[in-house]
């Protein structure tokens, strides 16, 4: 089940994320919606996985449960060898800010902080030593070396997302979760962002999990995990844009069929 993409990273192949029979539903009674249905998933360190599926397939729920932002109803989530279930928000936060980086569609930068301050915020919050040189180097790597003292609202969408990536990488996390990171970006900016995510996996050995609905974005990943109605419905290695798009279209058919049969 493990993809065989090998890395230069010595830790490559080590298990980075494991979901065991994770289920999650929202609402109760007749209105309840099953967002995740006994999902089991293993991800070795240093891989770049895209999660795809139609709207409402449970992509975002999968990401939230995997990252400890949401609690599954049942099942187990293990990140970098540590269980994420059954811990308080404070405990999860402390764990997350050392081992996990986030990139969201809406950037989620703090408007009152400059680019540099936003980037080093996770370090400040965990009272870690702030390595200014390292932070500036990361900002330079994402192409914002000359924007460190700007406020987020002085930046374009693509630049803001690159700040978010710098912030996600500054703690040297084992995992980076990205939720539709290119959803609000133009084509050019989207390409920059995807390249940075791929570099995080390929050069720095970080595990990247990206939720997206865009076949172009998915084609940057090592493999694509398809999701429909809360279940894993297939995986594609070395994805191309056309292959992903076709599989997605086909996925829509099978889902519709399943609904007709189920109804």
């Amino acid at each position: 089940m493990n993809p065989t993409t090998t890395r230069h990273d010595p830790e490559a192949g080590r298990e980075s994320l494991r979901l065991t029979s994770v289920s999650k539903s929202y609402g109760t009674g007749a209105g309840a919606v099953t967002a995740l249905d006994r999902v089991t998933l293993d991800l070795p360190a240093g891989s770049f996985m895209a999660v795809m599926g139609p709207s409402g397939s449970g992509k975002s729920t999968l990401l939230r449960c995997a990252a400890g932002l949401d609690t599954p109803d049942s099942g187990e989530v293990v990140v970098d060898g540590e269980p994420m279930t059954g811990r308080s928000e404070a405990a999860l936060t402390k764990f997350r800010r050392k081992r996990i980086g986030f990139v969201f569609q809406q950037y989620n930068l703090l408007p009152t902080l400059t680019v540099y301050q936003n980037t080093v915020l996770p370090l400040r919050l965990s009272r870690s030593r702030v390595d200014r040189e390292r932070a500036l180097r990361i900002l330079a790597e994402v192409g914002l070396g000359d924007r460190v003292d700007h406020l987020p609202d002085q930046l374009s969408g693509g630049q803001r997302q690159r700040v978010a990536i710098a912030r996600a990488l500054v703690t040297g996390p084992r995992l980076v979760f990205a939720d539709e990171p290119t959803g609000a970006l133009d084509l050019h900016s989207a390409r920059d962002v995807l390249r940075l995510l791929r570099e995080a996996a390929a050069l720095h050995g970080q595990t990247v999990v990206m939720v997206t609905h865009d076949p172009v974005a998915a084609s940057y990943a090592d493999f694509v995990q398809f999701l429909a109605d809360g279940r894993l419905v297939g995986r594609m290695s070395s994805p191309t844009v056309d292959a992903v798009a076709e599989r997605l279209a086909h996925l829509g058919d099978t889902v519709a069929q399943a609904h007709r049969v189920g109804a």
Binding site: A90, T93, L110, N118, L121, P122
Partner: protein, 445 residues
Amino acid sequence: MLALSMRSVRRRPGRFTAMLLSATVGAAVIMAFNSLHDVAAAPGVDSASSEILTIAAAIVGGYGTLLVFISIASTLTVNVRQRSEEIKLLRSAGATPLQIKLMLVGEAALIAVAAVVLAVGPAMLGGRALLEMFQETGQVAAGVEYAFGPIGLGAGVGSTLLASVGAAFMAVRRATRAASGTDRANRGRRRSLLGIAALVLGTGSVLTTLTLDETEPAAMAPAAYGSILIAFGLALFAPSMVGGAMAAFEGMLARTGGSGHLSAHNLRRRASEMSGVLMPMILFVGLSFGTLYMQAVENDALAASGAAKTVEDKNLETMNLVVVGIIAVFACIMLVNSLYAAVSYRGGEFGRQRLAGATPGQVLGMVGIEGVVLTVVGVALGSVAGIAGILPFAALRTDSMLPDQGPGMWIGIAAVAALATLATGLGTARKALRTPAVDAVGLAA
């Protein structure tokens, strides 16, 4: 549009609570005092009693109307700001600016009517209590009967409705102006000019106290008015002072850990948004501090001179305490309301901080530190305003600048301000933190 207003109020009654509360308290105060007009107008009331009742009704009725206006305006502005998403939606669904204005004004009118209905009972009780107080101090003849009539009710309906609708118009206008992003710089300059004018006038008023005759019965008035004006002026400059204070303490705060780091940046950049909270706090502290100590000085001076309190003295003391009480209650409601709004408005920001790695405890710590800084600045500036009134008055009455009273009352006032600020801020933040961080950032903020 009225149909839309009614549905809007009926479906989401919670968000109108603050407005309803301040309008109800306001209407009750206005009607309680104005019903004294009704009492005075009843047949068979002697002229002395009638005069005192009329004066009391006129003074506090006027104050009351102004306060109702200010507090409704402040709650409404907050309400409109919080609903900018909804207003944008209505716009994109084809509502004209006029229709939106009508909806908001309609809502305000509905709430005003509800507030008056709710306030009639408390107003009658309050009016009766006032009359009894005047009778107990011997200022009004014992035989005078309480009455709640057309003047009390009319004043209540008229003032509350007028204040609500007027405040709604202003809030909408400010909201649309803010949306188009114009006149921000202009407002800053107007603010400074207004602040300087208030400080100059206030200082002048306070200083005239010294030129008064020691036996002048209304000697407290210029000192009290001056101190209100100084409090108002200082409140206008408070935001930039918070900014300055934060810049000075930033290094120290940042060393206290994550929470301190978050607050340091926030307060400095958001200083202007703090004025909504600082204004009522400075007024509250300045007014209660100033008036309570001046009254204490007055009482001591009278006791020292050996003269018994005249009816006029008693009347003045009653009025002073009642007016201060009302203003203090209003300022407190405004403080709690604007702070509640300011903090609940920040759910999205808290969410982003949590996603960036802040624990719920760190976010609460940040809100707590901000509350402490606001309280310190508010109490300090309020105290300056209060002292500005107390010193000249004490000098006039007792030949000594420093009043004999201990710091007990001052500590009490500061404690109320601190308690209201911290309890509201932390309580609201706790509630906001119950929303999962990922959902919180998605909410319109």
